[in-house]
Symmetry: none
Subunit: 158 residues, 10 copies
Amino acid sequence: MSKTPRKSSKSEGLQLGRAVEWPDTPERAKLDRVPNPQADTNYVVRFTAPEFTSLCPITGQPDFAHLVIDYVPGQWLLESKSLKLYVASFRNHGAFHEDCTVAIGKRISSEIKPKWLRIGGYWYPRGGIPIDVFWQTGRLPKGMWVPEQGVAPYRGRG
Amino acid sequence: MSKTPRKSSKSEGLQLGRAVEWPDTPERAKLDRVPNPQADTNYVVRFTAPEFTSLCPITGQPDFAHLVIDYVPGQWLLESKSLKLYVASFRNHGAFHEDCTVAIGKRISSEIKPKWLRIGGYWYPRGGIPIDVFWQTGRLPKGMWVPEQGVAPYRGRG
Amino acid sequence: MSKTPRKSSKSEGLQLGRAVEWPDTPERAKLDRVPNPQADTNYVVRFTAPEFTSLCPITGQPDFAHLVIDYVPGQWLLESKSLKLYVASFRNHGAFHEDCTVAIGKRISSEIKPKWLRIGGYWYPRGGIPIDVFWQTGRLPKGMWVPEQGVAPYRGRG
Amino acid sequence: MSKTPRKSSKSEGLQLGRAVEWPDTPERAKLDRVPNPQADTNYVVRFTAPEFTSLCPITGQPDFAHLVIDYVPGQWLLESKSLKLYVASFRNHGAFHEDCTVAIGKRISSEIKPKWLRIGGYWYPRGGIPIDVFWQTGRLPKGMWVPEQGVAPYRGRG
Amino acid sequence: MSKTPRKSSKSEGLQLGRAVEWPDTPERAKLDRVPNPQADTNYVVRFTAPEFTSLCPITGQPDFAHLVIDYVPGQWLLESKSLKLYVASFRNHGAFHEDCTVAIGKRISSEIKPKWLRIGGYWYPRGGIPIDVFWQTGRLPKGMWVPEQGVAPYRGRG
Amino acid sequence: MSKTPRKSSKSEGLQLGRAVEWPDTPERAKLDRVPNPQADTNYVVRFTAPEFTSLCPITGQPDFAHLVIDYVPGQWLLESKSLKLYVASFRNHGAFHEDCTVAIGKRISSEIKPKWLRIGGYWYPRGGIPIDVFWQTGRLPKGMWVPEQGVAPYRGRG
Amino acid sequence: MSKTPRKSSKSEGLQLGRAVEWPDTPERAKLDRVPNPQADTNYVVRFTAPEFTSLCPITGQPDFAHLVIDYVPGQWLLESKSLKLYVASFRNHGAFHEDCTVAIGKRISSEIKPKWLRIGGYWYPRGGIPIDVFWQTGRLPKGMWVPEQGVAPYRGRG
Amino acid sequence: MSKTPRKSSKSEGLQLGRAVEWPDTPERAKLDRVPNPQADTNYVVRFTAPEFTSLCPITGQPDFAHLVIDYVPGQWLLESKSLKLYVASFRNHGAFHEDCTVAIGKRISSEIKPKWLRIGGYWYPRGGIPIDVFWQTGRLPKGMWVPEQGVAPYRGRG
Amino acid sequence: MSKTPRKSSKSEGLQLGRAVEWPDTPERAKLDRVPNPQADTNYVVRFTAPEFTSLCPITGQPDFAHLVIDYVPGQWLLESKSLKLYVASFRNHGAFHEDCTVAIGKRISSEIKPKWLRIGGYWYPRGGIPIDVFWQTGRLPKGMWVPEQGVAPYRGRG
Amino acid sequence: MSKTPRKSSKSEGLQLGRAVEWPDTPERAKLDRVPNPQADTNYVVRFTAPEFTSLCPITGQPDFAHLVIDYVPGQWLLESKSLKLYVASFRNHGAFHEDCTVAIGKRISSEIKPKWLRIGGYWYPRGGIPIDVFWQTGRLPKGMWVPEQGVAPYRGRG
Ligand SMILES: [Ca+2]
Ligand SMILES: [Ca+2]
Ligand SMILES: [Ca+2]
Ligand SMILES: [Ca+2]
Ligand SMILES: [Ca+2]
Ligand SMILES: [Ca+2]
Ligand SMILES: [Ca+2]
Ligand SMILES: [Ca+2]
Ligand SMILES: [Ca+2]
Ligand SMILES: [Ca+2]
Ligand SMILES: [Ca+2]
Ligand SMILES: [Ca+2]
Ligand SMILES: [Ca+2]
Ligand SMILES: [Ca+2]
Ligand SMILES: [Ca+2]
Ligand SMILES: [Ca+2]
């Protein structure tokens, strides 16, 4: 029999499939994990989040970024609605670009304990200068296939 | 004499060449294999399925993906109408993107026992965030030629 | 003598050049206008705001858009820091895409009374479907030169 | 005071902001309209739906399309979650491409009574041949600005 | 003295330079070979055949492909008019894409006994799913230069 | 006899061909004009200045722009080294983008009295928002040929 | 009988088909014309000369340009070897860009008396600022077909 | 009954379907026409001939061109094998680029009497300078759709 | 002192700098070599000849090719005017594509005795099928830098 | 204290910052070097000179090239104004393309003693055939990042 999707015991404890209050801080955001249904297998998951926004810790000005996260799951998958909410929770959070990017990588890493994870943060320019941040953790298992993230370089006007 | 195409004994047991009920679940979908007519030979077959759709296992919302599957056949080929039907059978099936993608890779793998197989699942964004899944199995025989899949990264608007 | 930039009487009443509290609502956001230093002249000003974000009025989910505003100033110019702040003030504001886009066009229009104004709002997809909103007001004076906005159509994945 | 988004009386009767059963037929799908908050104003709304799928009325095979809808609202706006659900309701509905495309245009038109509406349906190839369908109704008010839909022509392989 | 082209003994037995009946089956198609005029030399020959068509062996529906063949000739060259006729002979022939592609590779290989040969078959979508087939045989002599085939990935519409 | 280039009476009064102090304000910058050697003729001259920089009149922050100037000369040509110096003189000058752009257009216009002139100012983003300014003056003589300026729209990251 | 090309009376007086001294000044360069073999017909001839170089009349620095010349011939055609030599003759000639471009247009115009002629001079940047010059003369006969010159706008780096 | 293609009276007098001697001069080349099967309809036919070569009438040097011919047929269509032979007949023919291009246009025009015809001749550079020739004749019927020929402008290197 | 170019003893025996009869066969074409002025150095020279044409050895039909030749000179350089004449000498010569391409490579190789040479022959389609030929000889010295030839793959239409 | 730029002892002996006579031969051109301020670090410097011109040593005809020079500095940097003057000094210098390109590489190499240097010379076509010259010297230190020069291959017309 097919898995007919419906609100089931499977979603217990998940934010997915329920109306959820938007979290106002990263701390209050809950990252949900679900058991990796393919836990005996090494594969790569890539999330692309072009709608990231946070605040400058000093001036309070809004900052924007395009994030790309690649990981090889262990026992857990990162549930994507909870990622959406976590991403959204930075909306009123103040942190430097570098801090923000690496902190997201680390938080996800500590919650889902992937075999390997990398994050690329491609920030919109402030004062004319975009910042890109690249971080990885763990060890890419042998024989994995991981395409390039392929974000175009910034070029201003003209 | 040429092989004049007609409904022949060759198609016995195949869904190809017959009107077939669309399978409503992946379980009911039958993956047909045909003897690899070139079984003494190592070569690569690539399927591109830009018309994949399934349901979210928790909410029942429709999900969409662009799939690319590469394999080196052993004794069997995957028959493409049955792949089309299998792909279509996810239409009302609920599963996570990661599960779906790897499960498709594994199901094909277990049915046709390829020497090597990889699958790339490029999912349309949900909540603004697309997921890509990359998996491979077996060992690429030496001296094979396999071009890149080359799907463009997601970038939102503007 | 050159106009040495410094905090001067010219900036009286402006938010530019002062530390300003980020406005939390569009109503609290002050759109500053400065006397059009070229008020005897018909010309076009284009603002591009790829960093717009607001909230869904019903669900509270964050929305994102890329905005392009073209206008022919009359007696006033729209000051761009105040536009930045106004744009930022939608961060926790709930309104439909259509309303938001047209309201921004109208608010700017009523504050600076341009001879002509148009706004294109290119929204990131929600539920897989992006919305674009196109509005214009007033009458383009004869002999003006206005290039196309040229934002690419949305196409999902693959 | 800003419109703080929350579940309010405004959403009464809407499917937006509530868990909703996915409609299984276009007939059961409810197209929600909301009062046009800018009803005194002529402007254009564009929806892009790259995730459309229906069934062939004869064979039951799944069909796929990329839809673009442009309209000038009158008293009502088309609510986009209801459009998403309406679009999704064709999932198990059988109709010819031409019929489907024009029917969608007409249904929206009859529900929201726009001043003008056009729909472009760009269908994935079947038997190697994609079909595009173009329809419009009503009369574009003078002085409107409506960019091209800009979908690339199909070109097969090689 | 230069080799003035004319119908000569050189063309004896060739289909080139004569009106030829179009072969109706691959079996009836004659692949002509000419002595490799540079037989003491390792080099690569690439044929590109964007106009290949055959029939589905089961359903009789027409199939289309873009073929690219690379080989290192030994004693013989494949004559290109005979390749054109061979390619054309598949018009009413039924075979699977994989079989067709590899069979063409093998037939050419057995007739002209190249030192190495590879074929890429890029098939137009059937049921929305294109198949690509990649095969090579023999051993590329050391120090050869073979550029990529560079055919673009399939992407549907939108 | 050919015009052998050398420091000649022709350059009297020009900054061209001499070491020149960089002007620190636009007022101190001297725009040199030379007699239009083709004064009996209507033609268009286009300058492209991708290296423009000025200061915000209020905050003193540096601003950047890509400028394109088109004009039909009357009795005078604008000498390009003097334009370079004039452009450079804005380095420590404070003015709004709109003012700057139109003022440059007007200053050049008043110095060289062209039959027609237009200027496009494409400013780098400040606070994430680039401004483009489009102005023209005079009347394009009949039958002139003026290609589009063709500067690409801004799009942030991702 | 066909016109067998050979050195004939037709070339009397032409520089074409003979070894010619390179002219050192534009004055010494001879522009050859040949009778328009289609003189009863209006058509357009386009020359593209990407190898133009001259000297600054004041400083002696080398200047470079890409020239495009379009004309509708009257009784005469401009012979292209003589154009090559004329173009080369500016190598040690000093003149302003505007003068140079229009002078070339006029010289050609006065020698071959076209019905219409235009010249686009696209000069390499000096001090970071390129100059383009656009001139036309005469009157384009009705119903002519003249494609755009299509030279890309300058954009510096990034 | 279907129109079975065979050598019929319809081809009487045509070069198509017969072995034909290559014509050595344009005069000896025969342009075949066939009745326009859609003679009550205005439509456009485009031929592209990238393999044109002729000789310089003065020096005998080989010249090369890429030709594009567009026409609206009247009572006749130009048969394409005869065009191939006509094109090939210029191989040892000497004529200026301008003459050659317009003569081809005129010859075709006089043979098939189109309602409108245009020819673009894009010649390879000689002495660094390519020549393009654009000619049209007759009058384009109203409401016709004729895409640009879109041959890229020449740009040398870099 | 600079090397002032003039007709000098250096050109003795060369075809360069003299009026030369066009050779009618490859045998009559003379390939000139000049002493390698940098003979103590390993470097690469690339010739691109987009204007190659020959005849089919059997049918006499014209063939066209785009040739790219890379080599590392030893004691001699290939003089490019003589290459132009050699290339032109194939105009009425009949040979298969493969033969032609490799023969050109070998002839050059035997005349100038390079350390390494490769030739890519990219032939225009015949019967819808283009042929590319790739050959190299000698041994690329270590540490050389040789960019790809980068000729785009053929793709027919659409 | 900040490094205030002024004419200092640092510039002693440099041509930079002074009016300089244009050198008429490469021998008279002086290449200036400055101490590498990052001499303990391996990095790449790229110069692009699209405005190179010299003369043919045999015929005196003008030649044009686009040059790209990459190097890893050792103790010295190449000062760019002196490179501009050196490049300009070839204007009336006669040398073969191959000689010119390699000689420039060697001269720079001997003056600044880089760890590694390469030069690509992309020459404009003569007789329809462009020449590219590629040379490198020294040894690229491990782990360096050197992007391709990426100059497009020549393709004639069409
Ligand atoms: Ca910024
Ligand atoms: Ca720029
Ligand atoms: Ca979405
Ligand atoms: Ca954006
Ligand atoms: Ca897709
Ligand atoms: Ca299909
Ligand atoms: Ca194709
Ligand atoms: Ca799509
Ligand atoms: Ca983005
Ligand atoms: Ca150029
Ligand atoms: Ca510059
Ligand atoms: Ca260049
Ligand atoms: Ca070519
Ligand atoms: Ca063909
Ligand atoms: Ca040339
Ligand atoms: Ca061509």
